[in-house]
């Protein structure tokens, strides 16, 4: 865990890189999340000051979007598509299997911090569903056996 001074220094560096950009808040939040794996709440006032907006506005923006996390995710992140094209080929069944296998509900992280399970609405893999994004890697035609293998690999 970084101390808050190091964190703030890194964020100030990110802010400097985005100086003068039109509508920079989303790129800044993306950059912060890429750096830390989440958006540490301690940085919100720093971002707000640099952008000349209120801390509430920064919080409002970050909390609007599903991508930004206040807390770090698990070491592995499994995102399963829940959208219609994947439903048509068994996504609900695969999701139920994943929940049972991991002992998690949507948006939950395992107690030991190993894995986070999240829904995602469409990866554009609608002709080879059910689709998943596992630690940033795209996976098509996910069935129970493929999911078991993916989870096994994480151990």
């Amino acid at each position: 865990m970084l101390d808050s001074n190091t964190t703030i220094a890194k964020v100030e560096d990110i802010l400097a890189r985005h100086h003068g950009m039109e509508g920079a808040l989303l790129p800044i939040l993306h950059a912060i999340q890429a750096e830390f794996g989440h958006v540490p709440q301690v940085v919100l006032p720093v971002v707000a000051k640099a952008m000349n907006i209120s801390r509430a506005e920064v919080h409002g923006v970050m909390s609007f979007y599903h991508d930004f996390r206040e807390e770090p995710a698990g070491r592995h992140v499994i995102k399963l598509c829940r959208a219609e094209a994947c439903q048509a080929v068994g996504a609900d069944r695969v999701a139920d299997h994943a929940k049972k296998l991991l002992g998690l509900e949507w948006h939950e992280t395992a107690k030991n911090g190993s894995v986070t399970l999240e829904p995602i609405f469409c990866l554009g893999l609608c002709a080879c569903g059910p689709a998943a994004l596992v630690d940033g890697k795209l996976v098509g035609r996910v069935d129970e056996a493929k999911l078991d293998a993916l989870v096994e690999e994480m151990k």
């Binding site: 039109e22 509508g23 920079a24 808040l25 989303l26 790129p27 939040l29 993306h30 952008m51 409002g60 923006v61 609007f64 979007y65 599903h66 991508d67 930004f68 959208a83 219609e84 094209a85 994947c86 439903q87 048509a88 080929v89 995602i120 609405f121 469409c122 990866l123 554009g124 893999l125 609608c126 002709a127 080879c128 569903g129 689709a131 994004l133 940033g136 795209l138 996976v139 098509g140 035609r141």
Partner: protein, 508 residues
């Protein structure tokens, strides 16, 4: 030996990267020099990963490839277990009219030379010799309508922006392709990014805009990477920058990444997001064409609309307009998805019937069971039963059947689908993704889920309540999220009433 293997997300999700690695390894072991081009996908997703090998007769296709099929690529190709013959002779490709997707899968997406060899930049070059009004008139004459789903005439939108007086104007490409069953934007950006750049540059010239943005959803990591690289290459080559192809007029662009909010596919919400705000919908008027990004006149067009511009200028508005039916002119990239035997991208003139698309092109379901319903136009599109399969694919034709073509995605369901569950999901999705600004959408979607649950428990009195709620959402919502969620719900209810009365029957 020249080998093509897609970098397309669908190919990658089915193992293309591992195949690429294996090809390089085997080539090295056999001391064969291989040029491996990571191209876009030809759109036959059931054959991905599909490898193509260049031969004197043309490109030979092999797929779907597994790691075990790689060594045989270095032997007698005609005896390869996954040999499909010449790519150009594959029936799926042969029957298409590829205008917007002409180069996708053919070229190296990041080679500007390949792009030029295949007709790239000739549209922009022609546009450079025309004045602003003439460029706009050409787009209007082509009959091109917004491919994002709304179907608004592109030329009229451009005219408004072109004639607006302002110190700055913008071209914004909506690449927030969040609808399930749609992936044409993704495939275009991954397979032929320069086409989009060229289309945006023409839009910039037409409207007097010097800056463009491509807003790509974060769920598309490959498209983001390819577009970012393509913009850099285009800038270095002078296609973008202070003087577009040396004409003296400036146009440059940036790639921006969304953050997982479906509603940002709505144009005003996208603009707020681009400005660094919550992706909340804006009331219209003012139209974005007059007060868009940062309050300045802005063209907001879908990827496919903008990517269809270069071919219109290369071959002429009349050529493009010659395809299609009624007021739906040109071609449409159908995206065939869900439970289908042959899924993928199929570009064809408007006018095919839904039945031909589902039964002939898609070849029915992957499960082999009968087709029950086809959702056309994404999560906000209606479910069509087999009795409406004679509907021709066009904007007005689908609207006439209480549906929409949207971004031309089709999700096929077999007879195991529970349409009540699909109606519930439509409401649930709307509740999750609502931006919260207007009440019919924010509250209506939540009440919608509860009402469908009542029906599921056998309470038939909740059915008129659901119909009434849908009427309120349709008429009272600020944007298409709340306004169109009733399409899947009501179509499920009216075309598949049995799925809404099962519990009641069981109780009696």
């Amino acid at each position: 030996m020249k080998i093509y293997l897609p970098l397309d997300s669908a190919a990658v999700a089915l193992g293309a990267d591992e195949i690429a690695e294996s090809i390089q390894k085997h080539a090295q072991a056999k001391a064969v020099t291989v040029t491996l081009v990571r191209n876009g996908s030809r759109g036959m997703v059931w054959l991905e990963p599909m490898v193509e090998v260049e031969s004197p007769a043309g490109r030979l296709a092999f797929g779907p490839m597994s790691l075990a099929d790689v060594p045989a690529l270095f032997g007698d190709l005609s005896a390869h277990p996954k040999a499909l013959g010449l790519t150009d002779d594959l029936p799926w490709l042969k029957a298409q009219t590829r205008l917007t997707f002409a180069r996708v899968g053919v070229i190296d997406p990041l080679s500007l030379d390949d792009y030029k060899t295949q007709g790239g930049l000739s549209g922009l070059t022609r546009a450079l010799g025309m004045d602003r009004a003439a460029i706009v008139a050409e787009v209007t004459a082509s009959g091109l309508r917004g491919r994002g789903g709304a179907g608004f005439p592109t030329g009229i939108k451009w005219k408004t922006v072109s004639e607006a007086v302002a110190d700055r104007k913008y071209i914004v490409c909506n690449a927030d392709e969040g609808d399930s069953a749609t992936f044409a934007d993704r495939m275009l950006m991954e397979g032929d990014p320069f086409t989009l750049i060229e289309g945006m540059a023409i839009a910039g010239l037409a409207c007097g805009a010097t800056k463009g943005f491509v807003y790509i959803r974060s769920e598309y990591p490959v498209a983001i990477r390819v577009m970012e690289e393509a913009v850099k290459i285009a800038r270095a080559a002078g296609v973008l920058g202070a003087s577009v192809l040396g004409c003296g007029k400036a146009f440059d662009m940036e790639v921006r990444v969304g953050a997982g909010a479906y509603v940002c596919g709505e144009e005003t919400s996208l603009l707020n997001s681009l400005e660094g705000k919550r992706g909340v919908v804006r009331a219209k008027p003012p139209l974005p064409a007059l007060q868009g990004f940062m309050g300045k006149p802005t063209v907001v067009n879908n990827v496919i609309s903008l990517a269809s511009i270069p071919v219109i200028f290369e071959k002429g508005a009349e050529f493009y307009k010659g395809f299609g039916l009624g007021r739906s002119r040109g071609t449409i990239p159908l995206q065939i998805a869900g439970n289908v035997k042959h899924g993928g991208l199929y570009e064809i003139a408007f006018g095919l019937t839904l039945g031909d698309i589902v039964d002939k092109i898609a070849g029915g379901t992957a499960s082999g069971r009968p087709v029950k319903a086809v959702q056309v136009g994404g999560p906000l599109g209606a479910y069509f039963p087999r009795s409406l399969f004679d509907t021709p694919f066009g904007y007005e034709e689908f609207a006439g059947k209480d549906g929409l073509i949207g971004h031309a995605g089709l999700t096929v369901f077999d007879d195991s689908a529970d349409m009540l569950a699909q109606a519930r999901f439509a409401m649930e999705f709307c509740a999750i993704e609502s931006c919260g600004k207007c009440t019919p959408c924010r509250i209506g979607a939540v009440r919608g889920v509860e009402t469908v649950d009542r029906i599921a428990k056998g309470d038939a009195s909740a059915i008129p309540l659901l119909t009434d709620l849908c009427a309120t959402m349709k008429a009272g919502s600020l944007c298409a999220l709340g306004g169109f969620t009733p399409y899947p719900v009501l179509s499920a209810l009216s075309h598949f009433p049995d799925d809404f009365t099962r519990m009641k029957d069981a109780a009696e």
